[in-house]
Amino acid sequence: MLIIDNLHVNIDGKPILKGISLKIAKGEIHAIMGPNGAGKSTLAKVLAGHPAYEVIEGSIQFEGKDILELEPDERAHLGIFMGFQYPVEISGVSNADFLKAALNAKRKAHELPLIEETAFQQLLDEKMKLMEIRSEFKERHLNDGFSGGEKKRNEILQMAVLEPQFAILDETDSGLDIDAMRVVARGMNLIMNPNMSMLLITHYQRLLEYIEPHYVHVLVDGKIAMTGNASLSLKLESEGYDWIRAGQLEETA
């Protein structure tokens, strides 16, 4: 589904990602862990098409198509979804109106008829129930005045409505208490299906107790330093990242 090959990315001329290669097949869940500043969020934003990041080498293919030249909205129409670490606030725009506009933009791109108001309300009610989100959230302004946990839940709600093929979830678990985490993880599991893939970016092993990844990659200093299975996250939780860094140094030496 997704093939990243030797990806080098700069921001303001400074190298952040230094040759990342990653293959994610349909139905797989991958987790990316790593210390602060390793480039995890950069990877997420580059996949979604953030304009501030400069790809200087390498390629990203999605379903056999090179997506590097595509605008963020074109990538979204292909079925790529990014759950933001810090969802932005937009006042004056209700959550429901925003979701409907997003859904219709996608449908329009696929030359499908726009969704009718009643059908949309039904869909939204159903997904909100799934995410355990109170219906008053429909009319609240997009992320405006939401708590950290509410914002993250809202991201997952958007994913539920938009039904992407590939989701990058950037630290969706950060800022959540244990109950909110359980709700969010349950939502993610409900959305996940054999035709979909996920890339979870996380600091902690906590989230992975609820969603078991097929692969765990450790990103250190702009490179994937190690890949393993779910048990790797447990080791990272107890021993930190230093032993991986040390290993890297040995290799280069």
């Binding site: 934003k45 953030h50 006042s91 506009a101 997003a102 958007q158």
Partner: protein, 479 residues
């Protein structure tokens, strides 16, 4: 494209055309002779000569105001033509007698002159350079007893009403520009709503400056008698010229007991060249309403997206007890535009209430200031004001300022002021685009969300068009 769409939809500035019509103009410059000549040409009642001359003499003693947060080279008032009008038959009975070139102009602008537009429920008075060209839907309004006509016509048909109210809300000596307007105004709209009548149509005036050298000084007077109500909308455009043109209008509203006036403006004058700032309209306008009667209400809604300079403070004098004043404003500046706009709410009566919602958007190298005053007189008890004043910046080279002034004369009053400044930033746009919205839709969503509280005050058929107008204006400034 609907007519309202054509009216306000500029991409690029699509009103950039000049209509070739034979004009009757006075030589440039102003003196007492000019005033006489205007009065004579318009064959006005005697009291008007007195009104005009007094105003002119007052103007001579006044200084152009310098307190606003705007910069422009000195205006040479002797280099302006104070009267220019299409040559026409002495009296027009029907729109079909209007010069076809002018009608074609309004057609291009999408102004609904023809009767088939009756469905849109808008009656229009057209002011071309300085002279009112024609009013549509006379008949339907007449049946209801509503008067919508040019000021010139009103001076002939309703001289007593005009004499009673002209200058009663904005005295000639109120400020430099109102004095000039009072001396030389050549036309404008007059609206009279009789007791107990709800106007059956949205009333509308459309202003266009066509002549390169002329100033436009229109004068609008709306009188709403007891228990009546009216909604009035004005729109403005002008062709693109390299020189600056002066527009100094005065609008006066009078609402008697329980009367309601809703006055909406979509101002899209030529703003000057986006890069160099050359040309554009200087918009120095005095608008004020008097809530004279108890329980009366005056509501201003303005969408200011044009003009090189905007200097404008639609205000309410809340004289009647329990009267209500409202001001909803969107001011968008881009290129090198400068706007200094806001309102004054003057509470004189008891239990009066006012609401101010101001949204300023500045882009490129423009300057955008909100200036507001809330004044509650010592005898005005139990008054309330709520002010919300938000600025949005687009890019790093623009500026936004807020100059609020609050004077409260006694302790039974309640005043709230909220203000915010935000930036339309790359992260917001990216967020929306990552959800599948196009750049255009993303800008539209953010900007219209920001302006929502104001836009929803506009007459319905204009709200949608204003949304796309705001988006179009900003598209070149983002991304």
């Amino acid at each position: 494209m609907s007519s309202t769409e054509q009216f306000i939809n500029p991409q690029p500035y699509k009103y950039d055309f000049v209509t070739d019509v034979e004009m009757d103009s006075l030589p440039k410059g102003i003196n007492e002779e000019t005033i006489h000549a205007i009065w004579q040409k318009k064959q006005e009642p005697d009291f008007m000569l007195d009104f005009r001359l007094k105003s002119y003499r007052t103007w001579l003693t006044m200084q152009e105001p310098t307190w606003a947060n705007i910069n422009y080279p000195p205006i040479d008032y002797q280099n302006i033509c104070y009267y220019t009008a299409p040559k026409k038959k002495p009296k027009l009975n029907d729109l079909s007698e209007v010069d076809p070139a002018i009608l074609a102009t309004f057609e291009r602008l999408g102004i609904p002159l023809d009767e088939q537009k009756r469905l849109s429920n808008v009656a229009v008075d057209l002011v071309f350079d300085s002279v009112s060209i024609g009013t549509t839907f006379h008949k339907k309004l007449e049946e209801a007893g509503v008067v919508l006509c040019s000021m010139t016509e009103a001076l002939h048909r309703y001289p007593d009403l005009v004499k009673k109210y002209l200058g009663s809300v904005v005295p000639a000596g109120d400020n430099f520009f109102s004095a000039l307007n009072s001396a030389v105004f050549s036309d404008g709209s007059f609206v009279y709503i009789p007791k107990g009548v709800k106007s059956p149509l949205e009333l509308s005036t459309y202003f266009r400056i066509n002549d390169k050298e002329s100033g436009q000084f229109e004068r609008t007077l709306i009188i709403a008698e007891e228990g009546s109500s009216v909604s009035y909308l004005e729109g403005c455009t002008a062709p693109a010229f390299d020189n600056n043109q002066l527009h100094a209008a005065v609008v006066e509203l009078v609402a008697l007991d329980r009367a309601e006036i809703k006055y909406s403006t979509v101002q899209n004058w030529y703003p000057g060249d986006r890069q160099t700032g050359v040309g554009g309209i200087y918009n120095f306008v005095t608008k004020r309403g008097r809530c004279q009667g108890a329980y009366s209400k005056i509501s201003w809604t303005q969408v200011e997206v044009g003009a090189a300079i905007t200097w404008k403070y639609p205000s309410c004098i809340l004289q009647g007890d329990n009267s209500v004043g409202e001001f909803y404003s969107v001011a968008l500046t881009h290129g090198k535009m400068q706007a200094d706009t806001g309102t004054k709410m003057i509470h004189l009566g008891k239990n009066t209430r006012s609401t101010i919602v101001s949204k300023g958007i500045s882009a490129d190298k423009s300057h955008n200031s909100y200036r507001g005053a809330v004044i509650m007189a010592p005898r005005a008890e139990n008054c309330r004001n709520y002010t919300q004043c938000d600025s949005m910046l687009v890019g790093n080279n623009c500026s936004a300022n807020t100059f609020p002034c609050i004077e409260v004369g006694n302790s039974s009053n309640q005043v709230e002021h909220e203000a915010s400044t935000s930036k339309l930033n790359e992260e917001q746009l990216f967020y929306l685009r990552a959800r599948g919205l196009s750049l255009e839709d993303a800008i539209s969503m953010i900007v219209n969300g920001f302006c929502k509280d104001v836009i929803r005050q506009l007459p319905l058929e204009f709200a949608k068009e204003v949304e796309s107008l705001l988006t179009l204006k900003l598209e070149n400034s983002v991304g």
